[in-house]
Subunit: 262 residues, 2 copies
């Protein structure tokens, strides 16, 4: 659940299997969990009073937020970069997935700032409702299919704003071989991995609907579960330098895909 020693509960989903009784479930911090375990260990007849104010509200309208630069040469070939706008309610979701939103916006801003005119259409999508149903990602893929759009590539950042360690790719082997030749251009110093397998929850539907090649940014993972779905996932927990390095590497990958195709 977490490597931190704090007592922050980490939210998540509960799934039921009809073969078993549906018992109530809620998240507690690890210190509380240890106290409970110790109390139960001493006395198996323990009684616990639990009060939760959580409830499921009615659906409402949410929106994907989309911005793009039209391609000069192949405007119909779309490259999607994304993160998700929604977060669990204990905190603002700075790492999950504020970092991914900022990464994605920064790629477009940086390419624009240097005056780069992309050949393909580069589209940033801040997906809605990732945490609770994936409706933003599903709708985006549904529209792409209905409009018969050509999606060349989709890249997601949804693993936090930590020092980038590489990318993970879900695409045919020959495309991955092409991408791997770009390694020296992506990270000129230190180790950086271009691995098989990767993407993101929001862009997964694009791959399933259209076969779009996917990639996901892989940041250093050691601190992610100190913050993931907990009240500690705040702006102050994101390091500026680490966040920038993620955006730099994403911008480099998008530039290479735009310039050389896939």
């Amino acid at each position: 659940m977490t490597h931190a020693a704090d007592n922050n509960p980490h939210t998540g989903g509960t799934n039921y299997n009809d073969s078993f009784p549906k018992i109530p479930a809620l998240a507690v911090g690890i210190q509380d969990a240890d106290k409970l375990a110790a109390a139960i260990g001493k006395n198996s007849n323990i009684t616990l009073f639990i009060r939760s104010n959580a409830k499921m509200l009615a659906d409402t309208i949410g929106h994907n937020v989309i911005g793009e630069i039209k391609g000069t040469e192949f405007p119909d070939e779309i490259i999607t970069i994304g993160g998700h706008l929604d977060s669990w309610d204990p905190a603002e979701g700075a790492h999950d997935d504020g970092a991914g939103c900022v990464h994605s916006i920064e790629v477009l801003r940086a390419l624009k700032a240097i005056g780069y005119k992309p050949k393909r259409t580069i589209r940033v999508v801040l997906f809605v409702n990732e945490e609770n149903g994936l409706r933003g990602g599903n709708k985006y893929a549904e529209e792409a299919k209905a409009k018969n759009e050509k999606h060349l590539f989709a890249l997601e950042s949804d693993e936090g704003g930590f020092t980038p360690r590489g990318f993970g790719f879900t695409m045919p082997k020959e495309k991955l071989q092409k991408v791997r030749q770009w390694l020296p251009l992506l990270m000129p110093y230190g180790t950086f991995e271009l691995n098989e397998g990767g993407g993101g929850a929001d862009i997964g539907p694009l791959n399933r609907a259209l076969g779009t090649p996917l990639a996901g940014l892989s940041p250093d993972s050691q601190r992610y579960f100190d913050f993931h779905h907990a009240r500690s996932d705040v702006f102050e927990a994101v390091n500026k330098r680490e966040l920038e390095l993620g955006a730099v590497n994403m911008a480099a990958l998008i530039y290479l895909v735009d310039k050389y195709g896939l």
Copy 2:
């Protein structure tokens, strides 16, 4: 100097060259530096009032702190693991080099906790006076030479308590080749680098006096200069999980050197 956006001055040394006038120098934060630069840019005739209470005090006695487990088979072959105890005064020096001290102590504690009886003598040294003269490191090498001790290997951690990325080695090529065969045992997941070049300020004198092979832990470097020699270098800035991973990798390396020699 730093990637942080804060205004913390980072201390350091000032060296003079007799060919030039010895002008006073002190560290200021980057926000203050920007303000000064802007003011000077507007008016080249600017006057600045600077008051510093810094002074050089007389020398006093300091001590290296040493603990060791005697080797069962080759007690005369010494493996040194170290960090430095002293820090600059703006803060407690949690990353520089509290982390290295804790890493080094933890290697010995972990080996003892699992009941491991080393073949060689494993010695932890918390060096004194690294920041201001290296007298602890120099003295340690001087004593080693005077006593004709056999130093097989020395490992230092003095680059912060961040996620370990690898080790750097200063040793003959054939020894480094041997060490590189252990890579899968050092980090079974993700990338980890065993690079040429590395060690540490405190163990450098051992190498110069006795030719001792050296290594230094290489943690992720992106956040180090947010804290290095600044008042932000406090306990709270060290992540427990990242610190533990450094110690784990150091313990594994020391175990392998002890078991298979160098």
